[in-house]
């Protein structure tokens, strides 16, 4: 019985493809729903600060005076609550994971258009 099971498994394993991906050669495909990382379209942002209030890990900080939106990727748990809460729908969830971080930096999004206007006036 045991020998039969082993032989059967050996043959199955010999003639089927490996269960794992050969990673660097074959990239993993993410599903449509995968919660990867938060994307920001700064053009649409009105800096209302709702995302900052809703964030469970306080990863997002919004500075209305300087027109800056910052996110700390290492703190973000990609729950997607900010995406649901955003009134202007400028936040979105990308299905690719974010790159490994090497330092605890904040990723800064600044609205260049508004800043230009500020210096012109």
């Amino acid at each position: 019985m045991f020998a039969f099971n082993v032989t059967k498994r050996i043959f199955i394993n010999l003639f089927t493809r490996p269960a794992t991906l050969m990673y660097p050669v074959v990239k993993r495909e993410f599903t449509r729903n995968t919660r990867g990382k938060i994307e920001m379209n700064i053009e649409g942002c009105v800096f209302c600060g709702i995302c900052q209030k809703k964030c469970p890990t306080k990863a997002i900080s919004v500075n209305r005076a300087d027109q800056k939106w910052e996110i700390e990727r290492l703190k973000c748990v990609t729950c997607g609550y900010c995406v649901e809460a955003c009134p202007k729908k400028c936040l979105s969830m990308s299905n690719e994971y974010c790159e490994p971080a090497v330092s605890k930096d904040k990723e800064v999004f600044a609205n260049a258009r508004v800043l230009d206007n500020a210096t012109n006036s």
Binding site: A19, T31, R32, N33, T34, R35, P56, V77, G80, M93
Partner: protein, 359 residues
């Protein structure tokens, strides 16, 4: 009488995925007594309820445990919904049940793999986890997360499953059933496996009752108690019987979990057939005021959520009694008089989840 020695076991040990420490009082090769100490991964998640409002806390509740994450979120939201008298749409209830059973499937397969690894059957371990991978893939496709589902919220669920995917789930279940049957055949009938499990760590029916064991641990000893019989979620509309065995040894605990795999598959099938159309969430207004005990059946046993609200958006108290915590006294009883070589297997058969226990 031979001399007694104390052998420290853990917090780091190849068989333990999480840290628990046991002082084993030994007489020659026999364990006389085991003294546990826990507290290595305490994170203060219950205290955190004072800082997060009750809607946000669901994200914390889901992160209490990495394996039964969905059921923690489900227990928390059920308790809040009861306090606030929220009527959850039927479709959301069915979706929650489907995801809960998927998480039971992946948890039991993970445990089977770890058990195989603990008695040195590396090949079987890999086969279990290969099957588990398929379940994780379908979970990722439907909820967006592989481990932390993040799809449960107070008042319903955040994601819907479209009919095409539901059909695919049905097809996947047939595939899974076949593969799990292959694996269970090895666990149940193989000589090597039986030698390590049969008759090891017998917990009698009386002991299981007196020591308050829960879940598969208790059912393997012959007590037919399953919290799903309370009829929370969609379980009142699905047909199933609690699975029990009578011997209460490690082999029976393994058998109960294997049978529960097939039970979960049948439950998901029934839920997919019966799922009604409709909305998946309702709007939540107001703040919880009152207290409630929610009891759920997790893969490891019964979990109790106690929640007390005070009419503001911050809750007064959240207390979680997790299944592993209830099973630790039974584990200590099992360890008395066992061989030193059996200690890893015995610790594993209660399916320890230390992060749950210490929160």
């Amino acid at each position: 009488m031979s001399r007694r020695t104390i052998i420290p076991f853990g917090p780091q040990h190849p068989v333990l995925p999480e840290p628990i420490h046991l002082d084993l009082v030994m007489e020659d090769e026999k364990v006389v007594e085991a003294i546990p100490s826990i507290g290595f991964v305490h994170r203060g998640l219950e205290k955190l309820v004072e800082k997060k409002d009750f809607i946000e806390y669901i994200y914390v509740a889901e992160r209490i445990c990495g394996i039964c994450s969905f059921m923690h979120g489900m227990g928390y939201s059920q308790a809040i919904e009861q306090i606030m008298n929220i009527e959850v749409p039927e479709r959301a209830v069915f979706l929650r049940t489907i995801w809960a059973e998927f998480s039971r499937l992946h948890s039991h397969l993970l445990w089977l793999g770890l058990l195989a690894d603990a008695f040195g059957f590396e090949n079987l371990f890999m086969n279990c986890w290969r099957v588990r991978e398929k379940i994780l893939d379908i979970i990722e496709e439907t909820t967006g997360g592989r481990v932390i589902f993040g799809s449960c919220k107070v008042g319903g669920v955040r994601k819907d499953i479209d009919p095409v995917t539901l059909k695919r789930i049905d097809k996947l279940l047939a595939e899974l059933e076949k593969e799990i049957k292959d694996i269970s055949n090895v666990f149940m009938n193989e000589y090597t496996v039986k030698r390590r499990l049969v008759g090891v760590g017998v917990l009698s029916k009386e002991d299981a009752h007196v020591l308050g064991a829960v879940g598969p641990m208790m059912r393997a000893s012959g007590i037919a108690q399953d919290m799903r019989n309370l009829g929370y979620g969609a379980y009142s509309k699905l047909e199933f019987e609690p699975i029990t065995r009578t011997n209460g040894d490690s082999y029976d605990r393994c058998a109960v979990r294997i049978d529960e795999l097939f039970q979960s598959i049948s439950l998901i099938r029934q839920a997919v057939d019966k799922i009604p159309e409709g909305p998946v969430d309702v709007k939540v207004t107001g703040n919880p005021d009152g207290e409630y005990f929610a009891r759920l059946e997790q893969p490891r046993g019964e979990v109790v959520y106690y929640i007390k609200g005070n009419g503001t958006k911050f809750l007064d108290r959240v207390r979680v009694r997790t299944p592993t915590f209830a099973n630790v006294p039974a584990l200590l009883k099992l360890l008395q008089g066992c061989d030193f070589a059996d200690v890893p297997i015995l610790i594993l058969t209660i399916d320890p989840c230390i992060s749950c226990t210490e929160r």
